[in-house]
């Protein structure tokens, strides 16, 4: 049901743009107002989310250790899985953010007769890595529309991505990869009953929005062949805050609308995991809480408890009878 809702939403997007631009001719609205507004929502929304998290204290040092702690000198410790200082934490975070370390650990449990078996299961990791890196590369590639002259690294990236020279204009490898990865990430949600059970409409929606974004992009490049010169004029206009809506096919406006929708949706959805991961207290703290005091949160109050002297008064008889020492200091203090 969630998937159907997401699909309908995305199709509605297409219709809205088609009617808005193709029929009503609202090019400035879809070309200028919505993209700027979406970008603003994205920026402010993300800053808001980050501040919202950052202002909540981390009261305790709740690291999840996935390797040997630092204790005795002759025991080899794991710097990456149980970091002891901030430098090692940075290394752990780099692995987590750039290599999806934890996902790489993934196992798949199977019950075979009376035995539980855990096999390595890296498909999710592979799908996730492929998707994120392809998306990232595509974003970088798009910088060629927002810069003039185009910086050399971006040009080189473009050449590498279209290295195989399939078709004209050349097919980008990342386009193929992202489509494959999206399809995998979508199908696994449908195919695995457990995942189907936990998946919400808000899990399918971003997938479908990105599908829409990618497909409209590919259509525009390879099939509808939008006038790139006009597009570049328009994007440079966006950069210089002097935008003029281009006279190009609706497909371009659909592409633009998808990225706008995604940007606006980003800060208010699960997509905030992109920055959230940096805040995760089980990963971004050092496992040195016995060596370095983690200061308590401002709201934390030291507990009130039954002191020894109060306790001694209560159990005095039993203490004396069983020959346990009575602390005279308890009385001197009074």
């Amino acid at each position: 049901m969630g998937a159907v809702f997401a699909l309908v939403t995305v199709l509605a997007f297409v219709i809205v743009v088609y009617v808005g631009v193709g029929v009503a001719g609202l090019k400035s609205l879809f070309g200028i107002v919505i993209p700027y507004a979406a970008f603003l929502v994205f920026l402010l929304g993300m800053v808001y989310r980050m501040i919202d998290w950052a202002k909540v204290p981390v009261p305790f040092r709740i690291v999840t250790t996935c390797g040997q702690q630092k204790s005795l000198r002759w025991i080899k410790r794991s710097r990456l899985e149980a970091p002891y200082n901030n430098f090692e934490v940075v290394l752990r975070m780099i692995l987590e953010v750039f290599a999806f370390r934890s996902l790489f650990r993934n196992l798949k449990a199977e019950l075979k007769g009376p035995n539980l078996i855990y096999g390595s299961y890296k498909w999710l990791w592979l799908g996730a890595i492929a998707f994120h890196y392809a998306f990232f590369t595509i974003l970088l590639r798009h910088l060629r529309f927002f810069t003039y002259p185009v910086p050399e690294p971006i040009q080189i990236l473009d050449q590498i991505d279209s290295f195989f020279h399939i078709g004209l204009p050349h097919l980008y490898m990342t386009d193929v990869v992202i489509l494959a990865a999206l399809t995998f990430l979508f199908l696994r949600r449908l195919a695995d009953p457990k995942l189907r059970y936990i998946s919400l409409a808000s899990d399918y929606l971003p997938l479908f929005m990105i599908y829409g974004l990618v497909i409209s992009g590919i259509l525009m490049r390879h099939f509808f062949k939008v006038d790139v010169t006009q597009v570049k004029e328009f994007t440079m206009g966006l950069v210089h805050l002097k935008p003029k809506a281009p006279n190009v096919g609706v497909i371009f406006y659909i592409h633009l609308f998808f990225i706008s929708a995604l940007m606006a949706y980003f800060p208010f959805s699960k997509l905030v995991h992109m920055v959230g991961v940096f805040f995760s207290p089980t990963r971004n703290l050092a496992n040195n809480s016995r060596a370095v005091r983690h200061e308590p949160a401002p709201w934390w109050k030291k507990p009130k408890f039954k002191t020894y002297c109060e306790w001694q008064e209560e159990f005095k008889e039993q203490l004396i009878e069983s020959g346990q020492p009575i602390d005279e200091d308890c009385y001197e203090k009074k």
Binding site: I62, T65, G67, Q68, S71, E81, K270, N288, E321
Partner: protein
Amino acid sequence: MAKLPKPDELIKSIDWTPPEKDWMDDVPPDIKPGRFCYPAKKNILEEIGFPNPRDWSPLDEDWKLPSNYREIIIEGMKDRLSKYRSFKLFMDICVRCGACADKCHYFLGSGDPKNMPVLRAELLRSIYKGELTWQGKFFGKLAGARKLTEDIIKEWFYYYYQCSECRRCSVFCPYGIDTCEVTMMGRELLHLVGCNTNWILEPVRNCFKIGNHIGIPPHTIKEIIEYLCWDIEEVTGLKIEVPFNKKGAEILFVTPSGDYFAEPGIYTMMGYIILFHYLDLDWTMSTYASEGGNFGLFTSHEAMAKINAKIYHEAERLGVRFIIGGECGHMWRVKHQYMDTATGPAPKNLETPRSPITGTVFEHAKSTKMIHVCEFTADLIAHGKLELDPSRNDKYIVTFHDSCNPSRGMGFFEEPRYILKHVCNNFYDMPENTIREKTFCCGSGSGLNTDEFMEMRMRGGFPRANAVQYVRDKHGVNMLACICAIDRAALPTLMNYWAPDVKVCGVHELVANALVFPHEKTGERPRTLDMRQEPLKPEEEENA
């Protein structure tokens, strides 16, 4: 009490396929005997000043919640969202990738989809969204949002007491989302409306008032330990007196009270006593701070701190130099990750722990001034300060159960293994995906080790037991060593159910078996019995 299915019936009943019905509509849960713990008694809640004391049962239709339970919970949730970044973040960033789904032992053993960590968190997350975010209020179910109802309180109670806060899911989560944090918050919220369990809160009350979970008064503690010393005399011929509340001792020793009275914990306790006597250590126990464990951790952060604070208080009064903590799982999560922040800084008289025998300075504990007894012993062995005869443990083929909390809350893997490899000749680890940071819970952690919860314990313990069965069949393992008092209480039952020929022990029980005293070497009184007063070499007895 509910009838427990036989092991083969239980395995046959496991089905990981979720039902057709949407989980959001599947409330209230079908509450089954054997899968919940009895509620906290009225007088217990009254004594510790917790809200809404009453007589009730989870099987009742009416849970007698306060009439304004919705406001109470929502305010409590807002309050915690502003105090714990973990909670706020974990409510916000889950993408439901499902990597955690088959990592939970309760899910693996029960197939109940709400035991998938992602869904366990979603039970709370959906209310957070539905009551506190505009997206949830506006889009409702599409955004995974629900409104709080009495049925949802029932669902929370059922499933937040089917989580042992073991944090295995957190290892596999790409964002480190820790269901333990979510369960802790869920339980804290449930306390606000008086839904909690007696098995946790009675020990908490005992700790507050008397000093340990079981509520043993000081004279009885001394008596119990004296009994153990008589047993030690039987086994070793040594007359040992354990120091209590001794001012000016060098070391305060704190261990879970489970080690005082119940098998096989008592053998571990005997192990500590024998080891400290061997070293002629200047140590003391306290009958005031007589609990190392901390059921407060399973209650609330405040209760945890209130229980733990006594240890520093007592260390200050006695004027000791540092603290050694016994083998215990959740206790060490508290000592490692919470103690200093919640109840520190350590009193001034404490110093960075330094082994009086080897001179090793435990720099990694320079702030809390508290070390794990396995760190202490491993250091002794590495320096050759213990004369050990591992052949005394030859009747045992040993494997090691990594307890959840020292594993994923400390990174405590090599110390106990190092000791085991020196005190016994036959040691085999379980398969790698079931040990160390990927270790499985005993099925009874976080205050769920009660009899009425037995079916869920056997289900949750199945992944652990299954790995034990594997090494039993492959290597003939007959002894499961562990460093946790809840394990020592829970694993014998689990083994009895799944692998009846495997016994359970603490690491220091095996240390004490192997420890050679001078008088034993001279042949004056050779050791023939182990800590359990059974012959060290069973076949000799048969021959005799």
